[in-house]
Protein backbone atom coordinates (compact mmCIF):
# COMPACT_ATOMS: atom_id res chain seq x y z
CA UNK A 1 0.00 0.00 0.00
CA UNK A 2 1.46 3.34 -1.12
CA UNK A 3 1.25 5.46 2.02
CA UNK A 4 2.87 8.78 2.86
CA UNK A 5 4.63 9.49 6.15
CA UNK A 6 1.89 11.96 7.11
CA UNK A 7 -0.84 9.41 6.44
CA UNK A 8 1.06 6.79 8.41
CA UNK A 9 1.23 9.16 11.39
CA UNK A 10 -2.53 9.73 11.21
CA UNK A 11 -3.09 5.94 11.16
CA UNK A 12 -0.95 5.67 14.32
CA UNK A 13 -2.90 8.46 16.04
CA UNK A 14 -6.20 6.86 14.98
CA UNK A 15 -5.14 3.46 16.36
CA UNK A 16 -4.01 4.96 19.67
CA UNK A 17 -7.26 6.92 20.07
CA UNK A 18 -9.33 3.81 19.26
CA UNK A 19 -7.40 1.60 21.72
CA UNK A 20 -7.55 4.20 24.50
CA UNK A 21 -11.29 4.73 23.89
CA UNK A 22 -12.01 1.00 24.08
CA UNK A 23 -9.92 0.62 27.21
CA UNK A 24 -11.54 3.61 28.93
CA UNK A 25 -15.13 2.59 28.20
CA UNK A 26 -14.63 -1.09 28.94
CA UNK A 27 -12.86 -0.37 32.24
CA UNK A 28 -15.24 2.35 33.38
CA UNK A 29 -18.23 0.14 32.59
CA UNK A 30 -16.76 -2.71 34.61
CA UNK A 31 -15.95 -0.28 37.41
CA UNK A 32 -19.22 1.54 37.81
CA UNK A 33 -21.62 0.62 35.06
CA UNK A 34 -21.36 4.20 33.78
CA UNK A 35 -23.87 5.46 36.35
CA UNK A 36 -21.78 6.36 39.37
CA UNK A 37 -18.30 7.57 40.05
CA UNK A 38 -16.09 5.63 42.41
CA UNK A 39 -13.60 8.36 43.23
CA UNK A 40 -10.38 6.48 43.93
CA UNK A 41 -10.88 3.80 41.27
CA UNK A 42 -11.79 6.38 38.65
CA UNK A 43 -8.59 8.25 39.50
CA UNK A 44 -6.60 5.06 38.95
CA UNK A 45 -8.44 4.49 35.66
CA UNK A 46 -7.64 7.98 34.39
CA UNK A 47 -3.98 7.44 35.31
CA UNK A 48 -4.01 4.10 33.47
CA UNK A 49 -5.51 5.79 30.41
CA UNK A 50 -2.69 8.35 30.37
CA UNK A 51 -0.01 5.67 30.84
CA UNK A 52 -1.64 3.48 28.15
CA UNK A 53 -1.66 6.41 25.69
CA UNK A 54 2.05 7.05 26.23
CA UNK A 55 3.04 3.37 26.08
CA UNK A 56 0.89 2.70 22.98
CA UNK A 57 2.37 5.75 21.30
CA UNK A 58 5.94 4.56 22.01
CA UNK A 59 5.27 0.95 20.89
CA UNK A 60 3.53 1.97 17.66
CA UNK A 61 6.22 4.54 16.91
CA UNK A 62 8.93 1.91 17.30
CA UNK A 63 7.00 -0.76 15.36
CA UNK A 64 6.17 1.49 12.43
CA UNK A 65 9.23 3.76 12.71
CA UNK A 66 7.25 6.98 12.94
CA UNK A 67 8.78 9.20 10.29
CA UNK A 68 9.01 12.96 10.23
CA UNK A 69 6.62 13.90 7.45
CA UNK A 70 7.64 16.53 4.95
CA UNK A 71 6.31 20.04 5.44
CA UNK A 72 2.54 20.40 5.05
CA UNK A 73 1.44 21.75 1.71
CA UNK A 74 -1.89 23.36 0.83
CA UNK A 75 -3.66 20.04 0.17
CA UNK A 76 -2.59 18.72 3.59
CA UNK A 77 -4.02 21.87 5.17
CA UNK A 78 -7.30 21.49 3.24
CA UNK A 79 -7.63 17.85 4.37
CA UNK A 80 -6.75 18.82 7.95
CA UNK A 81 -9.33 21.60 8.00
CA UNK A 82 -12.03 19.26 6.66
CA UNK A 83 -11.24 16.78 9.42
CA UNK A 84 -11.24 19.53 12.05
CA UNK A 85 -14.54 20.94 10.77
CA UNK A 86 -16.32 17.58 10.84
CA UNK A 87 -14.89 16.70 14.27
CA UNK A 88 -15.93 20.11 15.61
CA UNK A 89 -19.50 19.83 14.23
CA UNK A 90 -19.87 16.40 15.81
CA UNK A 91 -18.49 17.61 19.14
CA UNK A 92 -20.87 20.58 19.12
CA UNK A 93 -23.81 18.34 18.23
CA UNK A 94 -23.10 15.89 21.06
CA UNK A 95 -22.51 18.67 23.61
CA UNK A 96 -25.77 20.42 22.60
CA UNK A 97 -27.60 17.08 22.81
CA UNK A 98 -26.21 16.51 26.30
CA UNK A 99 -27.15 20.02 27.45
CA UNK A 100 -30.63 19.60 25.97
CA UNK A 101 -31.09 16.24 27.65
CA UNK A 102 -30.03 17.63 31.03
CA UNK A 103 -32.37 20.61 30.65
CA UNK A 104 -35.30 18.40 29.69
CA UNK A 105 -34.65 15.89 32.45
CA UNK A 106 -34.49 18.71 35.01
CA UNK A 107 -37.66 20.35 33.76
CA UNK A 108 -35.74 23.59 33.19
CA UNK A 109 -37.86 24.29 30.13
CA UNK A 110 -41.14 23.94 32.05
CA UNK A 111 -42.95 27.27 32.09
CA UNK A 112 -43.87 28.70 35.47
CA UNK A 113 -42.12 26.02 37.47
CA UNK A 114 -39.03 26.33 39.59
CA UNK A 115 -36.37 23.84 38.67
CA UNK A 116 -33.18 23.12 40.50
CA UNK A 117 -30.21 21.19 39.22
CA UNK A 118 -29.31 18.69 41.88
CA UNK A 119 -27.64 15.35 41.68
CA UNK A 120 -30.43 13.77 43.73
CA UNK A 121 -33.29 14.70 41.41
CA UNK A 122 -31.45 14.41 38.12
CA UNK A 123 -31.85 11.38 35.90
CA UNK A 124 -28.50 12.34 34.35
CA UNK A 125 -25.98 12.35 37.15
CA UNK A 126 -22.47 13.68 36.94
CA UNK A 127 -21.00 10.26 36.04
CA UNK A 128 -23.29 9.87 33.03
CA UNK A 129 -22.56 13.45 31.99
CA UNK A 130 -18.81 12.84 32.30
CA UNK A 131 -18.97 9.64 30.24
CA UNK A 132 -21.11 11.40 27.64
CA UNK A 133 -18.53 14.17 27.35
CA UNK A 134 -15.77 11.54 27.04
CA UNK A 135 -17.77 9.88 24.24
CA UNK A 136 -18.10 13.25 22.53
CA UNK A 137 -14.38 14.00 22.81
CA UNK A 138 -13.14 10.57 21.76
CA UNK A 139 -15.63 10.04 18.94
CA UNK A 140 -15.01 13.51 17.52
CA UNK A 141 -11.24 12.84 17.61
CA UNK A 142 -11.78 9.51 15.82
CA UNK A 143 -14.08 11.17 13.29
CA UNK A 144 -11.52 13.88 12.58
CA UNK A 145 -8.75 11.34 11.98
CA UNK A 146 -11.03 9.05 9.94
CA UNK A 147 -12.03 11.99 7.73
CA UNK A 148 -8.39 12.85 7.10
CA UNK A 149 -7.59 9.22 6.26
CA UNK A 150 -10.59 9.06 3.91
CA UNK A 151 -9.38 12.05 1.90
CA UNK A 152 -5.78 10.83 1.83
CA UNK A 153 -6.94 7.41 0.59
CA UNK A 154 -9.13 8.96 -2.10
CA UNK A 155 -6.04 10.63 -3.45
Amino acid sequence: MNISAREKNIWIEFTITAVVSLYYFYSSYRLSGWTQIVGYDMGILVMNVIVLSVVASIILSVLFSRENPEQKDERDLVIESRGNALGYYFLTLLCCTLIGTIMLSEGILSIGETATLTAQTSSINSAVAMHSLMVALLVSALLKQATQLFFYRRG
Binding site: S4, R6, D73, E74, R75, D76, V78, Y152, R154, G155
Partner: protein, 71 residues
Protein backbone atom coordinates in the same frame (compact mmCIF):
# COMPACT_ATOMS: atom_id res chain seq x y z
CA UNK B 1 -12.68 15.94 -2.80
CA UNK B 2 -15.06 15.37 -5.68
CA UNK B 3 -14.06 15.63 -9.32
CA UNK B 4 -13.94 19.29 -10.21
CA UNK B 5 -14.49 21.12 -13.46
CA UNK B 6 -10.99 22.55 -13.68
CA UNK B 7 -9.02 20.53 -16.18
CA UNK B 8 -5.27 20.53 -16.52
CA UNK B 9 -2.49 19.33 -18.78
CA UNK B 10 0.10 18.77 -16.09
CA UNK B 11 0.76 15.18 -17.09
CA UNK B 12 1.19 16.08 -20.75
CA UNK B 13 3.44 19.04 -19.91
CA UNK B 14 5.60 16.85 -17.66
CA UNK B 15 6.30 14.50 -20.54
CA UNK B 16 6.94 17.38 -22.91
CA UNK B 17 9.49 18.75 -20.44
CA UNK B 18 11.97 15.91 -20.55
CA UNK B 19 9.88 13.22 -18.85
CA UNK B 20 9.77 15.25 -15.65
CA UNK B 21 8.67 13.02 -12.76
CA UNK B 22 5.89 13.89 -10.33
CA UNK B 23 8.51 14.17 -7.59
CA UNK B 24 10.59 16.61 -9.67
CA UNK B 25 7.60 18.84 -10.29
CA UNK B 26 6.52 18.54 -6.64
CA UNK B 27 9.90 19.74 -5.39
CA UNK B 28 9.94 22.56 -7.97
CA UNK B 29 6.59 23.94 -6.86
CA UNK B 30 7.11 23.04 -3.18
CA UNK B 31 4.26 20.58 -2.63
CA UNK B 32 4.14 16.83 -1.95
CA UNK B 33 4.07 14.24 -4.73
CA UNK B 34 0.60 13.19 -3.55
CA UNK B 35 -0.67 16.69 -4.34
CA UNK B 36 0.64 16.49 -7.91
CA UNK B 37 -0.97 13.04 -8.20
CA UNK B 38 -4.33 14.45 -7.01
CA UNK B 39 -4.07 17.41 -9.38
CA UNK B 40 -3.40 15.17 -12.37
CA UNK B 41 -6.32 12.94 -11.41
CA UNK B 42 -8.58 16.01 -11.23
CA UNK B 43 -9.45 15.39 -7.59
CA UNK B 44 -7.97 18.58 -6.25
CA UNK B 45 -8.19 22.19 -7.40
CA UNK B 46 -5.02 24.14 -6.67
CA UNK B 47 -4.90 27.57 -5.12
CA UNK B 48 -4.21 30.43 -7.51
CA UNK B 49 -0.69 30.70 -6.13
CA UNK B 50 0.08 27.03 -6.75
CA UNK B 51 -1.44 27.23 -10.23
CA UNK B 52 0.93 30.10 -11.08
CA UNK B 53 3.89 28.22 -9.63
CA UNK B 54 3.10 25.17 -11.78
CA UNK B 55 2.73 27.30 -14.92
CA UNK B 56 6.03 28.99 -14.10
CA UNK B 57 7.72 25.60 -13.63
CA UNK B 58 6.73 24.69 -17.21
CA UNK B 59 7.42 28.26 -18.44
CA UNK B 60 4.00 28.53 -20.06
CA UNK B 61 1.00 30.83 -19.45
CA UNK B 62 -1.48 29.74 -16.79
CA UNK B 63 -4.24 28.99 -19.31
CA UNK B 64 -2.02 26.48 -21.08
CA UNK B 65 -1.89 24.39 -17.93
CA UNK B 66 -5.37 24.90 -16.50
CA UNK B 67 -8.65 25.14 -18.35
CA UNK B 68 -12.13 25.85 -17.08
CA UNK B 69 -14.50 24.66 -19.81
CA UNK B 70 -17.82 26.48 -20.08
CA UNK B 71 -21.03 24.58 -19.40
Amino acid sequence: MAKNKIENKIRQLRFENGQMTQSDLASKVKVTRQTILSLEAGRYSPSLELAFRIARAFQVPLEEVFQYPSG
